[in-house]
Amino acid sequence: MGFRFIKHTFEDGQVIEATKVVENMKIFAHEINGNLDRENLPLDAITNAHTQCEDGCFNEVYFQRIGLKGDDVTTAWGPSGSGAATKLSFKDFNVQYYTICERTVEVPVDSLIIVHFGCVYEWFADPDAAEAVLAGLSTSWNNHALDLGSSALITTYDNIGEFFVDFRLRINGEVVCLAPQFSFIRRRNSVSMNGVLPVAAGKSEILVEAKQYRLVSAGPGRKEIVKKSKAFYITVSAGWGNLITQIKKR
């Protein structure tokens, strides 16, 4: 251990207050009891493959596939077992976030929660709503095509607007990851999100949510108008994604 500054210096004949003696001692005690640094932990001091820390340290991982019930609760998918939906459809959903995956974990002490989420989703067209936007749109799109050339579709493309879905990851209500504006032009697509948040002891809620909407141009130089997406909607299939929750206390 190197030199440590001592808060109080005493001289001969001085009346010493007990609290000052204790304060001086604390400097050493705190140093030795935990504040290890390179002076008392030399380079290469750790030679074990891993060191098991005690005193409440832990590193747990919880895994679930989306839409499939384990010990988690996925209320967005309906009842458990055979009654659970195999697909979660956003058809005719309003412009707001809906839960597609969730988990509640309980931790004994203040901890760090690290979450990974990934899934596949697919866009589908509602034929009537798509045709109401533009004749021929549904037929073209359902043939897995959206002509960006000189056809009637492209000439009126600005009028169609864009259809998007936003994904976000929340821990205890706080948005820890936002993946915005995945376009319907990628008919099948995948999303990956990661987030970290320190949490207090007790229950913590993890939510994966999605919001679909349509943006329509209001003219040059003007903000786009957000509308409900009727012509196109996403679905998420059970099992085609996972939520991995790591909880650690060091």
């Binding site: 007990a18 043939n143 897995h144 990628r186 994604g241």
Partner: protein, 296 residues
């Protein structure tokens, strides 16, 4: 050992030599036995909650410790043992921590006989993978060798795999304007699908044969990408727009009894999105890297 401050040192109370000596003795004892300068001196007694953090141990020191571990190719940051493949882009060879690790050629193919020589006009693509014809019996026809293999594990280990890469899919003759698919057909543009697969090596089990298990998909790691866009940038009509994107997949597996080694694969295949037929597509995977973290 924990250093304590004598409780008798209080206002109005006599301080004895014993009180001070007790403190000095405890400090001296630390220097004899518990300062972690030797092998195995670091333990639960001198590490407690929040006792060591990044202020105390720099990243360099942690990595140095791991790299000095020797032949495993792993590094340990105190949180788990990490194995890394990559990062790799399409203009440099893979970077490995330890040279003795087996180095697969960049995305080296498990069934090279299924792949034909690529035309010279794709020479800018250093590691293209041509997707052969779709068959019902084997959807995942681009089957990469394990990106990380023979990772030692033991019962109760938690394995986190994070795989990230960029990819592109184009008609085979993008540059020469032949054999491309017309966007007027109802087959759709190219669609790629990926998944992580893993397998473990079993030894000494009374219930299962020793050796490697059949590789299985890591749950929830299936991913898909396609596009509905087409373009008439080439002469001769509209053509499907290729797909370029990035992908990150995280997989998880718990190691069970008698499982001693772990391997992980990235697999993919390519079709046209409205028909199971790749029609001479080239799928190129690049800038890939994969991390495997073993949490003890």
């Amino acid at each position: 050992m924990i250093i304590s401050i004598p409780e008798t040192i209080k206002e109005g109370q006599e301080i004895t030599a014993d009180d001070l000596n007790q403190f000095a003795t405890e400090v001296n004892n630390i220097s004899d036995s518990s300062i972690p300068t030797g092998t195995n001196r670091l333990n639960g007694e001198n590490i407690r909650n929040e006792g060591i953090d990044r202020r105390n141990i720099t990243r360099h020191e942690v990595q140095r410790v791991g790299l000095e571990k020797g032949s495993t190719g792993a590094f340990n940051n105190g949180d788990g043992i990490h194995y890394r493949f990559g990062p790799h882009d399409d203009r440099s060879p893979p970077v490995w921590y330890k040279s003795e690790w087996k180095l697969p050629s960049p995305l080296h193919l498990q069934h090279p006989e299924n792949f034909t020589t690529l035309p010279h006009n794709l020479r800018k693509d250093l590691y293209p993978l041509r997707v052969p014809g779709y068959t019902n019996s084997n959807w995942f026809i681009v089957n990469l060798q394990p990106m990380l293999e023979d990772i030692p594990v033991e019962k109760g280990d938690k394995v986190l795999v994070t795989c990230s890469f960029a990819f592109s899919v184009f008609p085979l003759d993008t540059y020469s304007n032949n054999l491309v698919n017309s966007a007027t057909d109802p087959y759709g543009g190219y669609e790629t699908r990926f998944r992580l697969r893993s397998r473990v090596k079993i030894s000494g089990s009374p219930f299962a044969s020793s050796g490697w298990t059949t590789a299985e998909t890591m749950p929830g790691t299936f991913r898909m990408f396609n596009t509905v866009a087409s373009s008439n940038v080439m002469s001769g009509g509209y053509r499907w727009v290729g797909t370029q994107n990035t992908c990150t997949i995280v997989g998880y597996q718990e190691i069970e009894r008698y499982q001693e080694y772990f391997e992980v694969y990235l697999q993919s295949y390519c079709i046209r999105s409205n028909r199971y037929d790749p029609k001479d597509a080239v799928l190129r995977i690049k800038a890939y890297n994969i991390f495997v973290k073993i949490i003890k």
